[in-house]
Symmetry: C2
Subunit: 98 residues, 2 copies
DNA sequence: CAATTAATTCGAAATTTCTAGAATTATAGT
DNA sequence: ACTATAATTCTAGAAATTTCGAATTAATTG
């Protein structure tokens, strides 16, 4: 994962609503949650939520699967893992020399 | 570390320039680097850089120590560690059930 | 004390983000 | 076909971010 992709993903997680969405999806687990479920749980207006979800999907933080009328959102664990790895490798070089 | 503080910190790292600054400071190590050094290394105009550094300091990503005329910037490793811990604990709950 | 150096603050424009109601699309049920 | 449901797209205003030259502050040097 390269610099700008990392920055873009961190920026997406760096919004209170989107971080809440991601945390909710992680709690929901691998089967994910529908947009409507997220909306009810977090109380974000539909159009606002849709906008945030689109952004998260764009950078690869979540996956969206259409099941007839409802759309299921699934967190991309590997993507977050990549982010964490980057932060560890590139940003914690001096942590051992505490 | 609570939700909004995490979001704020991630948002700061979620800017290409600021992420570059942080990475540079980590490479610089515990003795840090002066604002001027960062400026020369990354080629960011002084006023722009100053603005970014102020933001990073505000959320606790870096520390700024004044040494006469020059200001030394030091990365806050513990802060990043806290961020990573949060992401692991709150956002990777399902990673084992891969 | 004038000049230089290091960095910040000011100010202002350009861009992006955030928000959310209204309209729209797509699918399912009656 | 009509209605209800799930979600998106459109639109537009408000707010925040980003950028950087110019002016300023603070400390050092000649």
């Amino acid at each position: 994962m390269e610099h700008d992709a990392v920055a873009a993903s961190l920026a997406e997680l760096g919004n209170s609503h989107r971080l809440a969405v991601f945390r909710f999806l992680v709690k929901a687990g691998h089967q994910g949650a529908s947009v409507g479920d997220i909306q009810k749980a977090l109380g974000i207006p539909a159009s606002t939520l849709s906008h945030h979800l689109a952004r998260m999907a764009k950078v690869g933080l979540i996956l969206q699967e259409k099941r007839s009328r409802t759309i299921i959102c699934i967190p991309e664990y590997q993507h977050l893992e990549s982010l964490i790895s980057f932060l560890r490798e590139e940003c914690c070089a001096g942590i051992s020399a505490r």
